[in-house]
Symmetry: C2
Subunit: 175 residues, 2 copies
């Protein structure tokens, strides 16, 4: 049977309701599910690779001041954003350390769809795990689901884990 560890890449993002460093409901759900149902007690046979994608467009507009900011201010802001992303990843890394699953985590900038596919090409994980909100077709038109794109195009097996119905926020586009 397989000698090498199974490398599972998980795309994670921040909560749209609580912001950094809180993970989104679907990221957290996908992670916990993978631990409980796939890895179980076989912790040394797996390696979890957490990828968090920061969307650069959102950096500039988050507070209005930034539009008039100097280069230096902009750099500081990026730095701050990066630090907040690191705190998000800490959540997952700490959980892995508690459980004893080896892991790595990193941040990339760009369109989540493209970045995830590129990182799959680069890292060649055995499996890509993505949480999804389980939106209806009408809601999907407005948010363009990353999970569907990854499912179609990723060059490795893909596991999608829908958010539990009882964890869906009032506005299901939130996460």
């Amino acid at each position: 049977m397989a000698e090498e560890v199974t490398r599972i890449m998980i795309g994670v993002n921040e909560s749209s309701l609580k912001g950094y460093p809180n993970p989104s409901i679907s990221s957290k759900g996908a992670f916990e599910w993978t631990i409980n149902k796939i890895i179980r007690n076989n912790v040394s046979a797996f390696n979890l690779l957490f990828l968090h994608v920061q969307v650069p467009d959102e950096d500039g507009y988050e507070d209005m001041d930034s539009i008039y900011a100097s280069n230096e201010d902009f750099k500081n802001m990026k730095q701050k954003e990066r630090v907040r992303g690191t705190h998000l990843l800490e959540y997952f890394v700490n959980r892995c350390n508690e459980i004893g699953v080896p892991c790595q985590a990193w941040i990339k900038e760009g369109d989540p769809k493209d970045v995830i596919l590129n990182e799959v090409k680069r890292i060649r994980p055995d499996l890509l795990v993505v949480g999804c909100r389980g939106l209806g077709p009408f809601q999907k038109v407005f948010v363009g689901t990353v999970s569907e794109f990854c499912w179609k195009h990723a060059e490795c097996p893909v596991m999608t884990i829908k958010r539990n119905a009882d964890e869906t926020p009032r506005d299901p586009v939130d996460d």
Copy 2:
């Protein structure tokens, strides 16, 4: 950590090139991948549930005689088809016995998409695994992929495993 075994349902079908009892390339690939990358040596923590769907429309037309067959002949033919399906499932069950993974296997009749979703509702597996041919959009229009439908609608996490590029037959719609 989880005490109950992880129940993985795998949809399997016969080879379109070699017929029964040979599994399709994508079914076999999805199964072997699940064993090697997910279950690994942790065999007692998992339970594999093999579902094979037989499409009733194809029964009647497989050989021309059947169109004029009596009720009795038709019943016998169905019986034969059922036996061939059982031989397909034997392939997977035997592999599981070799490896030591507990499993169950059964046959249902109907449209694979509907049957798989209904069986997910009835059986409530932790995970549904489906192999897929990895067709391009043009080829997909003609064959209507079961994997995409299941991915969208199944009430449990879904893992799709594309066929290896080097195992693709001359006509990629074959499997």
